[in-house]
Amino acid sequence: MTRFASLIDSVGHTPLVGLPNLSPSAKVRLWAKLEDRNPTGSIKDRAALGMIRAAEADGTLRPGCTILEPTSGNTGISLAMAAKLAGYRLICVMPENTSVERKQILAMWGAEIVSSPAAGGSNEAVTVAKKLIAEHPDWVMLYQYGNRANADAHYETTGPEILADLPEVTHVVAGLGTTGTLMGIGRFMAEHKPEVKIIAAEPRYGELVYGLRNIDEGFVPELYDASYVSSRFSVGSRDAVRRVRELLEREGIFAGLSTGAIVHAALGQAAKAVKAGESADIVIIIADGGWKYLSTGAYDTDIDTAEEFLDGQVWA
């Protein structure tokens, strides 16, 4: 389907393309689901739209409402687009070290930004947002980390799209942030093709990000249910940068940095399948395009400089 009644209606329906140059063999194939093709350029359009529709349906969100959301960027941008079209005011709480492009894009769509300390990363943004919402009970926090509509959006759209386009799918690899993508796809596959393995790639944040936080105050999103995940990989900055460049050079796909971590985990999984002599069709979720990260130097500086710069940045 290529004709839609409005921009909102065009969310999802993203292409799945083969990665013939990165696939290790004819039996072990990699596929990229291009979520950068969504209206604001990231997979978060699905969750943002799902959460807004659910909140409108249950009466939480009414015309003229102010939405407040803790975000490292992409969800905020998606919400800003949807809020603009629906006439809501949007305030985003985001870590001060997120890339400058994200702040510019948010401002362009009319969102207001409240900065939270870089040292706490996304966790601190959540804490600040919770404090603000307590002071403004008339505002609505959709709260992507605990909002079931976030995961439901992927249960209802991303999962079915993957299975329809690739019935032989064996693995889905995606980034672990709010966990909505993996929980939604995982629940869908558990019900429709339970043998599919769900692999989480966790970008290893620079240590400065959590340097000041007490380890006991770490944050696990309420949506997270380990029973839907088969394996979790932690990926460092260097490997993420290397892989995102490899994806660009060998397959022509210009992806964001968390996708580099996802590709690294997927290639690790592919290598395991090759070693075991098994066939595999591995879907990689391309979370967003590389446009918003150009200022980081991830694509054009030497890899040591890029790695150094990325330590301490918020990726997802």
């Binding site: 942030g177 966990t179 400065l208 944050f219």
Partner: protein, 90 residues
């Protein structure tokens, strides 16, 4: 079985500021017990009631041990153990 254990900033008070320390053991459990002998107090920050603390993620060669046997996960010579607090994107 000598493995390298990478320590997050917040736990470096137990390792005298060292970012990475050596550990011995053929399971993660043994490695953590071994660390405790040289860095007293670190075990309690990682383990609670014989399970990993909820907010602590431990990876052996980048794979989360919760999916490979938890504290019983095997460790081999040259393995790299990474300890990270939970984080979130979005």
């Amino acid at each position: 079985m000598a493995v390298e254990v990478r320590i997050p900033t917040i736990l470096r008070t137990f390792t005298g500021g060292e970012k990475a320390v050596k550990g011995q053991g053929s399971t993660l459990h043994q490695v953590i017990d071994d660390l405790e002998t040289r860095h007293p107090g670190i075990r309690e920050r990682l383990v609670e009631s014989d399970n990993l603390r909820r907010f602590v993620n431990v990876y052996v060669n980048d794979e989360d041990v919760r999916f490979t046997g938890g504290l019983g996960s095997p460790t081999a010579d040259g393995d790299v153990v990474v300890v990270l607090p939970a984080v979130a994107g979005g």
